[in-house]
């Protein structure tokens, strides 16, 4: 059927002008809102992490002052650079004790799904401190 | 009609021009062969080609319309949500407009029924066959009768506040009187040549057109009067 069309195509050239042109794919907006995953990650962070790590990730949550060792400042640029996503995921999954750190960081592998952990990491990556 | 004898066909055509036609002749009339000055042309190609061209033009124009304007398609039918206004197809909007003025039995049944009957009866009515100009040989009495009928009709319609018919009626009556006593070419001359049935048909066509136009364009929610150019469309 399509071949038959091509055969008589020259006759349709006039008509072609009326056909709508495929528009170019729309450009992403300048200030795109955080993706759905990041928003979910923020929600999870707020529920499970913020009490100790604080809203900005600086390790200043209201539960933190009584803890020894103190929770890690995860918004620290050096820390963010040093740790890969899989490192972070490992600590979240197995807890501080599992990764050879303080046991005060609990393991979340059975509470959070793999996807939720990935989302939290996505969100944590947005917590970088602005360069002072 | 019953007085017409059966098998009547006075053959007046040119036997040379139409060699195949058989003339049926009544026994009591003398066969007459009249030669006319009318010219004949071959059906093919003159008529056939024209017909084909006509068909093509119709298809072309309709196709262009179909390419530009999409046939209307609204939301799926919803028996609980009546759109306002709910309108019938355009050719029934004259009737729907009529229903706005008269009781349903009159506007929905009697009047359309009358129109159909009138249309069927037209060719059989004696008055119609003479087809002479209406005013030909008519005196003062006719004028008074016409004026009387028009006035009565107008008053009747006015009583129903049916200006959509009353005003066209007045206009047609005015045209009827304007045509009186005129002759020759021109619009008024053409009017003066109209016969009585043609006047009645003109009145009917004008009224039907006015009603349809009003129903189509000038009626909004609750069948209220709207101006189409103000295009206020409240759902």
């Amino acid at each position: 059927m399509k071949r038959a069309f091509l055969a008589v195509l020259p006759l349709f050239l006039v008509a072609a002008c009326t056909g709508k042109r495929a528009a170019a794919p729309s450009k992403p907006e300048a200030s795109a809102p955080p993706s759905y995953e990041i928003r979910l990650g923020k929600e999870t962070f707020r529920l499970y992490c913020q009490t100790c790590h604080g809203e900005t990730g600086a390790g200043d949550g209201f539960n933190a002052f009584n803890l020894d060792p103190h929770p890690r400042d995860i918004s620290d640029t050096a820390f963010q650079k040093k740790k890969s996503d899989s490192d972070l995921a490992d600590v979240i999954r197995r807890g501080g004790a599992g990764a050879g750190l303080s046991a005060l960081m609990p393991p979340w592998g059975r509470t959070l799904s793999e996807a939720q952990i990935n989302e939290v990491i996505l969100y944590v990556r947005t917590l970088k401190k602005p360069p002072a | 009609m019953s007085t017409l004898p059966p098998l009547t066909a006075v053959e007046s055509n040119d036997p040379v021009g139409t060699p195949r036609r058989i003339a049926l002749v009544r026994p009591d009339t003398r066969p007459s062969v009249r030669r006319t000055e009318e010219r004949y042309v071959m059906t093919f190609p003159h008529l056939i080609l024209r017909e084909v061209i006509l068909f093509q033009v119709v298809v072309i124009l309709l196709s262009l319309a179909a390419l530009v304007f999409n046939a209307p398609l609204e939301e799926m039918a919803n028996p609980v949500e009546t759109p306002n206004p709910a309108k019938a197809p355009w050719y029934f909007l004259g009737l729907q407009e009529l229903l706005h003025y008269f009781p349903p039995v009159v506007a929905g049944v009697l009047l359309p029924g009358l129109v159909v009957v009138a249309l069927v009866v037209i060719p059989y009515a004696r008055v119609n066959l003479t087809a002479g100009p209406f005013w030909e040989g008519k005196g003062r009495g006719t004028s008074l009768t016409v004026a009387g009928i028009a006035a009565a009709l107008f008053l009747f319609l006015a009583a129903f506040r049916c200006w959509a018919i009353a005003i066209p009626t007045l206009l047609v009556t005015a045209a009827l009187f304007a045509a009186r006593g005129t002759q020759g070419p021109g619009f008024r001359g053409a009017l003066s040549r109209l016969s009585l049935p043609q006047w009645i048909m003109t009145w009917f066509v004008v009224v039907a057109t006015v009603l349809t136009v009003i129903g189509t364009f000038f009626r909004g929610p609750g069948w209220s009067w709207v101006w189409p150019w103000l295009s206020v469309t409240h759902p």
């Binding site: 059927m1 038959a4 069309f5 008589v8 006759l11 | 021009g17 010219r39 004949y40 042309v41 071959m42």
Partner: protein, 169 residues
């Protein structure tokens, strides 16, 4: 047209007059007829294209058939909606179409005789789809079977595979 008053009234003259310029007349006729013919052929092609359905509202041919562990040797499970059997062999699984190769009736599995029989004309097949009794001309076709990422069996009735190609568990 009747303004040309000097022409004879005899219609036979018409052709004689027309014949003055036969080439142009013929050319225009051919253009017209050619365009009409092209339009007719094109309309035919377009109509055929129009009649070809572009979307189908049919149940998908792929279906999930559970875990391979559900099919120990000798199990025959019939999927009524998709018209297919899933059969467990010795450490393998395979799937058969349930449509009789004779006239397209849906066959049924008779557990007592461990055979597939067709209710319409009495064709019989064994559980590998081979014809054991006519009039079916061919064995039942074997259809594609595999597993998805979760290890669940997936059968596709649209894909016929060679007879005897089992899915090893």
């Amino acid at each position: 047209m009747s303004k040309v008053s000097k022409v004879s009234n005899d219609p036979r003259d018409e052709i004689r007059n027309e014949d003055d310029d036969p080439n142009r007349r013929q050319f225009l006729s051919r253009v017209a007829m050619g365009a009409c013919a092209a339009a007719a052929v094109g309309s035919g092609v377009v109509t055929l294209d129009f009649l070809e359905p572009k979307v189908l509202f049919e149940p998908p041919t792929r279906f999930k058939a559970g875990s391979p562990l559900d099919y120990p040797e000798g199990t025959v499970k019939f999927n009524k909606e998709r018209r297919a059997y899933v059969v467990g062999g010795s450490s393998c699984v395979y799937a058969l179409s349930a449509v009789c190769t004779h006239l397209g009736c849906i066959t049924r599995f008779v557990p007592d005789e461990n055979a597939i029989s067709c209710p319409c004309h009495g064709s019989r097949f064994d559980t590998e789809g081979n014809v054991t009794h006519g009039p079916a001309p061919r064995p039942l076709p074997w259809i594609e079977i595999g597993t998805d990422e979760k290890g669940e069996l997936v059968v596709d009735t649209a894909i016929v595979i060679p007879h005897g190609k089992v899915f090893r568990v």
